[in-house]
Amino acid sequence: MSQSYLILIKNAAVSSAREKNVSELMELNDTLIQHGMTITLDEAKELVLKREKSLSENGRVEIGLGALGKIAQIFAGSRYIQRNDFAYEIEQIADLFYFIKTEIKDTVSDIKLINSLFYLYENKCGGSFSLLSGYYTDKIIRYYNTGHNINNGNSDIMELVFEDDYLIEEDD
């Protein structure tokens, strides 16, 4: 019963939510401009559509702008992202974010995961999305799924990203 409701409700809500999400994303420009970034209306529409696709592919449901807005706000401060690539990078990182959330069974909060991804992107990947989405994503998922999160999911993922030794040891 609930699964069919989910489909009904998603279908009913999606069109009205889409417009709202686009305008919420456009409103973020006031903050993004401080970092020299902006999102155009076309980019905002594209981002919202891609986010829907990503949520669906990763078997997730999100209400409102959700993590996408936070990712845009945090990654606007990146040293590596250029204005012209900003929307595309955000789209890629959001997709990676939803993938990790599902893989680690929601054991970490949105903001911690976004901050961790940002830290890795800036300090370990040198702005390389492929390194972030491959090597480090695998590390994060293994870290959370193999019992390293000994505090029953309350451990801070930042412990992982600051514990460089752990990452190197694992690699060795």
Binding site: S2, Y5, I9, A12, G59, R60, E62, I63, Y98, D106
Partner: protein
């Protein structure tokens, strides 16, 4: 509670809509059933349907925030489905409690799903409280036997089921598997009602058996001995053993309250049923049952009525010694 529910004048037209057929509305999936019928009869338009379903999404957002303590904006589809099930079940129970399908539809159209969910939750929690009270009554009337299923259900499993439902925001799903099985199938549209029904059945069975005093113990141990079952682990409904023999004894001409039956009693029953029509057969069994004025008479009747084909079979095959417990 009802004062916070809003009804618009425009929705009062639903009551005047001759196409809106309340007989098509089912309680098992009440909200969807209401919406479908209202849409079919043009009592509401597609925009209103979209508005109602979007309202579920708003309620879902509130529950996601509650579930993740505000730390996550998204959940897996499985979690979302479970939460939606809970929202729909609780809101649906509230609307059912209004007792009027027209009023329920008007209420659904004019109020937020989150508000309806909260009101439903309140009703469900009251029901769970009644379940706790009912458990006390069951404990007071329990049969003193070593049957582990029976005892663990009363001592632990019912309260665990109540707690589990409460912790899951009164989920609409509850499993009674692994619990002592009453003689009637427990089917209800929501978890608290299912637990409540289970408890009532157990209570009726306790009350019935308690009237037979030591006879209940005797019949149970006889069953375990005859079928080589450990009294602690026997998979049998104790009440049903008692009910069948008690009815059989009356059919054999013994006083109501007697449980002992022997082969000569079976012969008397065969004689009684010889040369009677199939219609008279049921009447004869049920009139014998009516003489036993213990427990919940309707419950006793429902259980016995479901057993009539087996009795008929046993009489026709002269195998009552297999249906009843001779002792």
């Amino acid at each position: 509670m009802s004062q916070i529910i809003q009804i618009n004048d425009t929705s009062k037209n639903i009551r005047k809509n001759p196409e809106f057929d309340v007989s098509k509305i089912t309680k098992s999936d009440y909200i969807k059933s209401l919406i479908d019928e209202a849409e079919r009869s043009h009592a509401i338009d597609s925009d209103t349907v979209t508005k109602i379903y979007s309202s579920v999404m708003d309620a879902l957002a509130a529950l996601i925030e509650q579930k993740t303590s505000g730390e996550s904006y998204s959940v897996t589809e499985d979690t979302a489905s479970q939460l939606i099930g809970t929202i729909i079940a609780n809101a649906g129970e509230y609307l059912i409690s209004l007792g009027d399908d027209y009023y329920a539809l008007e209420t659904l159209i004019n109020n937020d799903m989150l508000e309806l969910y909260k009101l439903g939750l309140l009703n469900m929690r009251k029901l769970l409280l009644e379940c706790v009270n009912m458990l006390v009554k069951i404990k007071k009337t329990r049969i003193s036997l070593p049957n582990r299923d029976y005892n663990s259900s009363i001592d632990n499993k019912i309260s665990a089921a109540i707690k589990n439902v409460d912790e899951k925001y009164c989920s609409h799903i509850v499993s009674l598997s692994g619990m002592y099985t009453p003689s009637k199938r427990v089917a209800a549209r929501c978890a608290p009602l299912k637990i409540m029904l289970y408890e009532h059945y157990l209570y009726y069975e306790n009350i019935f058996c308690s009237h037979f005093g030591k006879g209940t113990e005797l019949i149970y141990y006889t069953y375990c001995e005859n079928f080589a079952e450990n009294p602690a682990f026997a998979h049998v409904n104790i009440y049903k053993l008692v009910l069948k023999n008690a009815t059989g004894a009356v059919l054999a001409g013994k006083n109501p309250g007697t449980l002992s039956i022997d082969n000569s009693d079976c012969e008397k029953i065969y004689d009684k049923f010889s040369n009677i029509s199939p219609d008279e057969f049921s009447g004869l069994v049920l009139s014998a049952l009516d003489k036993i004025r213990f427990g919940n008479l309707k419950y006793n009747r429902d259980v016995m009525e479901a057993d009539i084909p087996y009795i008929k079979n046993a009489v026709q095959n002269r195998s009552l010694d297999g249906y009843l417990l001779l002792m």
